[in-house]
């Protein structure tokens, strides 16, 4: 009879105690929120990849279709959206490069390369890539 009353009780296999977490647990604290926002930047990465593909795709469909696409890019709501996407992409870059020293342990002469140097190296790589891309995109036009 007692077993009927306590539904959590099963003989020999007591149910484990588990604290129930609210679904929006990550709203409570700044660090948790930052973690979720960082994870959600992956959406902007996928969006950018598909938009880039679409832009190339439209270019192959002749000048008219390409100009239509360019016009769409110029509309105010789309520019606003893309500013948000750009900010998310920057957040992705900064947080990703920020993890590099933790993920990458470089030993030089038996000593570990300081985190700051690894981080600086990655920022140099980012700067270099950016310069090359700007040079290509602005040089072609």
């Amino acid at each position: 009879m007692a077993q009927r009353l306590n539904t959590d009780y099963t003989r020999y296999h007591p149910k484990w105690y588990r604290r129930r977490m609210p679904i929006f647990w990550w709203l409570g604290k700044g660090a948790y929120l930052k973690f979720i926002v960082r994870e959600l930047t992956s959406l902007s990465v996928a969006y950018a990849a598909l938009l880039l593909l679409l832009q190339a795709w439209f270019a192959t469909h002749g000048e008219d279709r390409y100009l239509q696409f360019t016009e769409w890019l110029q509309s105010a709501p789309i520019i606003s959206l893309h500013v948000v996407v750009l900010l998310a992409l920057l957040f992705h870059t900064v947080t990703w490069l920020g993890l590099a020293p933790k993920a990458l342990v470089i030993k030089l002469g038996g000593r570990r390369l300081p985190d700051r140097l690894v981080l600086a190296g990655h920022y140099v790589a980012w700067g270099g890539t950016t310069v090359v891309l700007l040079w290509i995109l602005l040089g072609v036009a």
Binding site: I23, V45, A46, L52, L53, A59, T60, L73, L86, W96
Partner: protein, 116 residues
């Protein structure tokens, strides 16, 4: 998802994270903010098609698009898993996220390596 596939998925996630981190801010700023706003001269169609048809550009774009999609799939999978605690839907979420990455990568391969 069997454990043995995890390192491959993580490698794709990681490569996509790095490549997208390095190139997307510049690309997004120039192509989708600066050019539409008229801050810099927009790419004329002839220039764009010339750039996009170059074999190196196509290979680069294919790598970028594919790895970015797998980066998204892996990260988004765990965002749903941990963020919304959908532990019981683990299998379904994995199939949908990685599946989307595979399908869209195939489209990218078709467009960039076959059509262009």
């Amino acid at each position: 998802m069997p454990r043995s596939r995890e390192p491959i998925l993580w490698a794709l996630f990681s490569a996509g994270g790095m490549l997208s981190a390095l190139v997307f801010p510049a690309l997004a700023f120039v192509l989708w903010v600066a050019m539409p706003l008229g801050l810099v001269e927009p790419l004329a169609w002839q220039d764009m098609i010339g750039l996009v048809r170059h074999p190196l550009t196509r290979l680069f774009l294919f790598a970028l698009v594919t790895l970015s999609l797998f980066h998204w799939a892996h990260r988004f999978r765990y965002t749903l898993y941990d963020g919304l605690q959908l532990y019981h839907l683990n299998q379904l979420i994995a199939v949908v996220t990685y599946g989307a990455a595979v399908v869209l990568s195939s489209v990218a391969g078709y467009v960039l390596l076959v059509v262009l």
